[in-house]
Subunit: 153 residues, 4 copies
């Protein structure tokens, strides 16, 4: 299965400096460094996070823990939303829902977040996680998330 975006809309960022802003925030997420995740790419309305398999992050059967899968796709969705937000704001996850479609086994996990609807206060994102092994990819999880744009008081 190869995922495509639910949305074909092209987005224009309000802040031309969106990528460095997103990368700076990602670098402050200690949790991402602790698990070994990296911010692979950033584009208007999109962010992609990579995580190599790590035996320290597994559930009882040796697969990546669903919470870890969720963590990288949550961050991907949050940063997808941040790419379209004005400078100086913060983003916060209001809620999300994730479906787990296959055991999280593979060499590398690729989490992609994409904006479906960018609002003034709330942004809706779609996320997905694929497990890569050799040349093949398996869809592991799908997410639908609501992100809040927090303007400084």
């Amino acid at each position: 299965m190869i995922f495509m975006s639910l949305s074909s809309e092209s987005f224009t960022p309000q802040d031309p400096d969106f990528e460095s802003r997103v990368r700076a925030s990602f670098n402050r997420q200690a949790a991402m460094q602790t698990i070994g995740a990296t911010l692979a790419s950033v584009a208007p309305g999109m962010a992609e996070i990579h995580l190599p398999y790590d035996g320290r992050l597994t559930q009882q059967n040796g697969y990546l823990h669903a919470g870890i899968v969720t963590m990288i796709v949550d961050s991907a969705c949050g940063y997808a939303a941040l790419t379209l937000a004005p400078a100086g704001v913060n983003v916060l996850t209001v809620e999300y829902k994730a479906n787990f479609m296959a055991p999280a086994q593979g060499e590398t996990f690729v989490a992609t977040g994409r904006v479906l609807k960018a609002g003034k206060t709330l942004t809706v994102c779609q996320g997905e996680v694929r497990a890569l092994t050799g040349g093949s990819a398996t869809a592991v999880a799908a997410m639908l998330a609501t992100i809040m744009i927090l303007r400084p008081p």
Copy 2:
């Protein structure tokens, strides 16, 4: 806010040895040890996981990452379901949804999973995470989760 169960039903486990079975599975979850989570209590239809605050597990503002909050309450829900399952089965998270109600700041995080409906194939659980600081507790997250009971082939 002090949470109470959405359900007042009392459950009778099918396997009297449910607690040792749940604890053995928890001990195989490397991810729980990596983040420092412990299985504080297990009862029919209920499991509680504790996690001390750890600066390595934070998002960009120094709060516990939403993915980590999700991880402990996901495990609590999965083990709540496992307490009521017959011996010899495995549990798998089908999907969940979490709402984040307050920044995850505190000394200790307490995740509780409770069974709402135990089915033959699917079990529905309700979860919650509270942040404890000194003597006070704050509701941080609420979850609704679907867990699958996997019988050996």
Copy 3:
């Protein structure tokens, strides 16, 4: 199974006239009248909607359609949120998730919405639907919903 609130917090409404405000809004929901739903009770942080079984509202097996079950508990959650909002605002459903735990068969369906966390912009609610037949009640659905408080511009 008898449901209890996930939250034991008692709420103080900002607008003492909350009940008439909620009832006036409910009466403007044509969809509620079309399906035959009534607003049975309103209290601070809580609303309850009743719907008698109606063969016109069924899915392919003669049970109440999941969408109808969702409709009454969505409205119950929205009005639970509205009880705690200031006068003059409107509420809007941002998103929800529902689990269906038993076939929706019964004489009357009782949907209850309760506020878990009332925020300035977003309110998180928990909902449930029970099917009543004779003297017995069956839990049919559970919901977790995010409601937005819309202040006039």
Copy 4:
């Protein structure tokens, strides 16, 4: 915004007679007839339902009620799953989550359900609702749903 599928996988139905089976089930959903919804198209892994605007189905501001929006996309997801199921089975909605991205105003509402992952017991679907007015379409809602395949005992 024009939606595209999250999945580009092409599905091969197990039952060549899937369309007549899906249409027969749709025709037994009294709720669909009551609200005026029609099954516009069916394809392997996909179903599309149309609903004209109807003032009897509105919430307090005159928009289509979120529960009605949910109802048509829930049915679209269920029937998308049914297209890929073997003959003689029934489908049941386990749970879903919907995000509402714009007020449901328009002349016609188009709900599309697509299979993301077809499993033996559970099928994961993605849904969307667009509101059509004149020649333009607005994304109104997105859904992620879990459908259970019920084999006869």
